[in-house]
Symmetry: C2
């Protein structure tokens, strides 16, 4: 088969071709059942087997401890911005670290349900986000029910390369982590985390599935106004089948999990992510033409926003990129420029092709 | 191609083979874009075209008036049970007609958000639901912000063959209709409806997509505790893209809409539904062996629960059915027996095959 274009979309994002090929082959008949996966009752043995396998594979990939529930939900990160405080805040205090658009949105939405306060922010005078605030400076309230952060800001390209150890900072609050855009690209230190959630449409693939991994003791405290379908206790007690789950998205996520296991799991994904990110940032920094504004210590391995010295160059850059099979490189409208999202499904060859095109473009326009 | 098995699942349910074949063919490359639909940014021109076409086709199929929004949401009917009162009740009065499991769940969930009262119920002394209460007897409160009913009860097999005209009953309340399990099998009289919602996993296909059609004047009154991602105003203002929509489910729904248009639209689907239902109910009634307990005037054309005189016959019936390619005929656990869901994607030949098997089974076991 001809090489597929390299798709740098920030999400919904590229899937491994092997996964799509298997899904296409099984579309009308899954394993001789006479049904496609989309046509199966979620209560039937076929789909229950698919969902159990997906959950077990994810638990294995991320070493999710036995005292954490894995929930398959709907609504994405933006819905979780309400669902987390509805379940965890008790209407009391919750602290937020704001490091970009996503954590800002989480902070704003939480104010509807609890006493949400800013523990720290990285906003510069010009509104940009290019650094991470040092945890030693965070204002942690003793009464906070949890502390929320976004461990990889998709739009601003900022990543926590180590999760803070709140206990060493004198806080007993569980850490809530929005890891949507780098889940499965690195291990999660569960000793530091109470809840981690991720919309699947970035580093897993299908939109419409939200994965919530939550410590058992944090479940069962929802506010009375929490919709039953979004009450973690209800969802957990029904094995993520209180309401009909997004069955096909779970199936595709499960195929991605199996693909990840075949590749060597999360450790191998991290090795590749480091390699791809070093190649791309290295090319940007060495160019004297392209630039990335994020402090090196917190540059995202997944989402790389970058800029050129002249606004008029973006249109021809994007046009030439498409002609070379390099897709969806336009930057987010709130920051402009270009952005390459290089998730697990992006092979090293895709980043090499991008760097090669960048060099060529610079030679013509730099 | 060999005849596929006939799949009588109540949901997620069978899809037209043509739709699945097209989805499989386009899985790795949609219309030469170099991307599968699952890999496209929801903000890109390709997916926006898919979503717009799906919305326009649905509007055409159901003759949705211009003053109704069509929203693509997540969470299914069970989430809407909270989302509707969060948006429409204003924390005040709302009336409910309970005719089976689904409307019972809607009534219970709404009590969390408003003064929900029973306008009518069809519950018999033994807990069964086999009739519809006469609208002339409903207790409609003047102050009710809306009246909720489920126009087709999937589990109990009861269908409203005409929506009540609340104005003629002296009520100005908008009617809220959960039409999940018979949407697109008949026209909707929009002059009688304020909001209609449907989980897509029954008579459209993919799970994880909820369709909400709501009159503009009912939007913009959400309670402060309504999550932003489920506030109809926010969803409408963002063209159903406030949070990342379930893109692949929207694409599949769109393929189903185009299939429906090719078949002759909703009028043709209704003609076929009547024909299929008459065939199946006729066979049940004439058998003296199989039985359906629902009053004839409100039997569902979509979901046909039926029973045999001896509990011990169900296991061999289901085993023989599978051997003949007749799948997912087991009744819902709350009512037992058998259930054939004969949605739009079920051809007449499937019902003929079922009736033929029923006759054969009766001859051996009757």
């Amino acid at each position: 088969m001809k090489q597929r274009p390299y798709n740098f979309s920030a999400g919904p994002a590229a899937l491994p071709a092997e996964v799509l090929e298997q899904a296409a082959a099984e579309m009308l008949d899954w394993h001789g059942s006479g049904m496609g996966v989309m046509e199966m009752s979620h209560r039937g043995k076929e789909f229950i087997a698919i969902a159990h396998q997906a959950e077990a594979d994810l638990r294995r990939l991320l070493a999710v401890p036995p005292n954490f529930h894995i929930l398959f939900m709907q609504g994405g990160g933006l819905a979780e911005n309400a669902i987390v405080p509805l379940n965890l805040s008790g209407g009391a205090a919750a602290d937020f670290v704001v490091t970009g658009s996503w954590s800002q949105k989480s902070f704003k939405e939480a104010k509807k349900y609890c006493d949400a306060q800013l523990a720290a922010a990285n906003t510069a005078a010009d509104g940009s986000h290019t650094t991470l605030p040092d945890p030693a400076t965070w204002r942690l309230r003793r009464e906070a029910r949890y502390l929320h952060l976004c461990s990889n800001e998709t739009i601003h390209g900022i990543e926590f390369h180590e999760l803070p150890d709140l206990k060493s900072l004198g806080s007993d609050a569980p850490l809530v982590v929005d890891c949507s855009s780098h889940i499965l690209s690195r291990a999660i230190d569960w000793s530091r985390v109470g809840l981690a959630f991720a919309g699947a449409q970035k580093n897993i693939g299908p939109a419409g599935l939200t994965i919530v991994m939550v410590r058992e003791d944090l479940v069962g405290h929802a506010l009375p106004v929490c919709p039953s379908a979004f009450d973690y206790k209800t969802v957990a007690e029904h094995g993520s089948m209180f309401n009909t789950p997004p069955t096909y998205a779970i199936y595709i996520a499960g195929l991605v999990f199996q693909w990840l296991l075949r590749q060597g799991g999360v450790a191998e994904m991290e090795r590749r992510a480091v390699q791809k990110a070093e190649l791309l940032y290295g090319a940007i920094d060495a160019s004297g033409f392209y630039s990335n504004k994020v402090e090196r210590s917190c540059r995202s391995r997944m989402n790389v926003p970058f800029f050129m010295p002249d606004e008029r160059l973006y249109a021809p850059f994007l046009e030439g990129a498409v002609a070379r099979g390099l897709l969806q490189l336009k930057g987010h409208k709130s920051v402009g420029g270009l952005r390459a999202s290089i998730y697990n499904a992006m092979p090293l060859e895709g980043v090499q092709a991008l760097v090669s095109y960048m060099t060529e473009f610079q030679a013509r326009h730099g």
